[in-house]
């Protein structure tokens, strides 16, 4: 998925912005900063979901809603703060996605109503806008659930009501708002038991906090595209970075290993690098630091000379990303896809891993879209996969319930005849592919495929990302959990243990064949050992093993 890069305002513009009262352009910059900072922290917001499998999308929904709003505001091109607010609220309404997106759109709707047709916004009007935002947000629900984004906007407004006067300046007001939002988010587990049980704070509330914090960071001249300085273990800062797209103007990747002089401050190092480029990461191991940055062509030597000024440079690696992306595209499609004759039925499959993709290719799919549990492809990704095929009969295999919606939306934007087979996982996708009749009608294929997906049952083995109790099964963070046909059935200490327990739970007599697809983080040796055990235990069953290469799920097991 390509992400829109937001151009940060120059120093001069920021300076202009701090000047209260704020005009329409200033408000736009604030909103844009909120969006950029939210995008930077999107994955964190997504991770605050209350189920043990990584499928949170609150952050994504909020980003999409904010993006629609900022796009609309961008086109407004007005200096009038009221008009700008209205355009922004309109965009948020149109682009609202998910529950948190709807509430967010309602917050901005109230916010903009208070601005009315004012030329500029000063802190007292800002306060009035917050009050109206809170009132409007609460009007949208009969029985408000506290401990959510609603509570956060309420607490923020209350804090502002207490302290904002005519003499307050914008920067102080934002400091106050961000502090109040932070405290409110920290309190959400006290108000909403499920959050406490899961050990997280509310994701929507946290998202709203990031939006306000982004606005403050803009005024404080802090970088918006680097999340708070964190040191990763050295091996996590990869030399060759997996790239889908290159940010405009950031063509070069520079990686430097260095040993800093006595006094090294990570914070200021991050800040200074932030002026040179984007996507900054710093790793450390045994006193050696590794720095990773993307910069423009004409600035590619700056990180080197800068790093030389603070320490001893050990090693430098530089790469032209544009080349890398071009190269990767051709390398990515190693498997051969089935050529489609005009008028035949083409199948588009969503696949989470390389190994799985090549199995799909061997079964005869016409196009493959990469995606899965936490990397949902966009509607555009899906449409562009089949739009150029020489046929108007297309079958989509989403292979994950999180992708159903995107698939349904893809149907709406194309003139081709599309059938979606509701495959919830990859084995169901394979089962459906085995029934493909390229020369049959769409209806015949649909019936056959829908029948086939009932016949395969799927076990999925993954690691819980936090402690929780679901369906009466206790799960601790880091424990291995087993899902059977999408339901959590058992938790275990190791993957081997999980596989054994799964086999015990399943009525093995009902099946003849077990197919195992192992994920990206499993070694072949480990899988072989595991499979030997299964073969010994169930000598009458046929056991097959394939490299799936999927992330998150160590094993996907099909029972037929």
């Amino acid at each position: 998925m390509s992400v829109k890069t937001n151009v940060l305002p120059s120093e001069a513009q920021r300076h202009e912005l701090v000047k209260s009262p704020l005009n329409g352009e200033g408000l736009y910059l604030l909103f844009n900063a909120g969006l950029t900072w939210l995008m930077t922290n999107q994955q964190h917001v997504n991770s605050l979901n209350v189920f043990p499998v990584p499928d949170g999308d609150t952050g994504t929904n909020m980003v999409l809603t904010m993006q629609a709003a900022v796009n609309e505001a961008e086109h407004a091109q007005t200096k009038n703060v009221g008009d700008m607010g209205r355009a922004f609220a309109q965009g948020a309404l149109m682009g609202a996605r998910g529950n948190s997106g709807v509430i967010l759109s309602q917050i901005w709707r109230g916010f903009s109503r208070a601005l009315d047709s004012s030329e500029t916004m000063d802190p007292p009007l800002f306060l009035k806008a917050l009050q109206e935002a809170r009132n409007t947000a609460y009007k949208g629900v009969v029985r408000p659930v506290e401990g959510t984004i609603l509570t956060v906007i309420k607490d923020v407004t209350a804090a502002a009501e207490e302290t904002v006067t005519k003499d307050t300046n914008l920067s102080d007001m934002l400091v106050l708002i961000v502090e109040a939002a932070d405290e409110s988010v920290q309190r959400t587990p006290e108000l909403l038991p499920i959050l406490k049980q899961t050990g997280v704070v509310d994701s929507g509330g946290k998202g709203l906090f990031y939006i306000f914090e982004g606005m403050l960071r803009l005024i404080q001249k802090l970088p918006l595209d680097v999340s708070n300085a964190v040191i990763k273990p050295l091996d996590q800062v990869k030399l060759v970075h997996a790239m889908d797209s290159v940010e405009e103007g950031q063509d070069y990747e520079v990686v430097i290993d260095f040993e800093p002089n006595g006094s090294f401050s990570l914070e200021s190092y991050y800040d200074d690098l932030g002026k040179i480029g984007t996507s900054i990461q710093v790793g450390e191991g045994d006193g050696i630091y590794r720095m990773h940055i993307h910069t423009a062509l004409d600035r590619r030597y700056e990180p080197i000379s800068y790093t030389e000024s603070i320490g001893t440079v050990k090693k430098i690696m530089m790469e032209n990303l544009q080349e890398q992306v071009n190269g990767k595209k051709s390398e990515g499609e190693k498997f051969k896809l089935n050529p489609i004759n005009p008028g035949e039925i083409a199948v588009v499959a969503v696949s989470p891993g390389k190994g799985l993709s090549s199995i799909f290719a061997s079964l005869g799919v016409a196009a493959i879209v990469e995606g899965g549990q936490t990397m949902n492809p966009s509607v555009k990704d899906l449409v562009s996969a089949f739009e150029n095929l020489p046929t108007d009969k297309v079958i989509i295999l989403p292979n994950n319930k999180n992708i159903f919606l995107a698939a349904q939306n893809a149907v709406k934007v194309t003139t081709k005849k599309i059938v979606i087979i509701p495959t919830r996982n990859t084995p169901q996708g394979f089962a459906a592919m085995l029934r493909l009749m390229p020369e049959g009608t769409l209806q015949e294929n649909e019936e056959a495929m829908n029948e086939s997906i009932q016949e395969v049952h799927t076990g999925e083995i993954t690691t819980a990302i936090r402690s929780v109790e679901i369906d009466g099964v206790q799960v601790k963070k880091g424990e291995v959990i087993v899902l059977f046909d999408g339901k959590l059935v058992v938790s275990a200490r190791s993957i081997e243990d999980a596989a054994t327990q799964l086999m015990e739970k399943v009525q093995m007599d009902d099946f003849e064949r077990i197919t195992i697809f192992y994920g990206a983080d499993m070694t072949q040796a480990r899988v072989n050992q595991l499979v030997d055990g299964i073969r010994k235990q169930y000598p009458d069953h046929e056991v097959e093993v394939h490299e799936g290469g999927q992330p998150h799920y160590q094993l996907i097991i099909a029972f037929e």
């Binding site: 529950n99 709807v102 309602q106 409007t136 009969v142």
Partner: protein, 118 residues
Amino acid sequence: MTSQENKIGQIYILPRAIRTVARAVALQSYGVINLAPRNFLEAVNRLVCKDSDYGIKVATSAEGLVLELSLIIEYGLRIKSVSDSVAESVKFNVEKTMGIPVQRVDVHVRGLRISNAD
């Protein structure tokens, strides 16, 4: 009526109980202002009876419950997103509390409430 068997007997769950759960969940869902009577009978019932549970129809099919909600939604929200959320949380909560699979949830938007026209 849906029934499940346990070790010592049958458990019968009447549609009214399911409607109560669905109603509570729907009203907690963001953007839903109220349920709306589905027909004349329900409308009269609503006036006469104190705790009438209008606006929700429960049917059963081989694959599970089929729920039909008729709702009043707040004006100024994206109706599609609101409806999606209600349907999803009703399905999730009914399945969780009742232990019966829900096959479909159909949402009928009967009207919008305008609290702020802008």
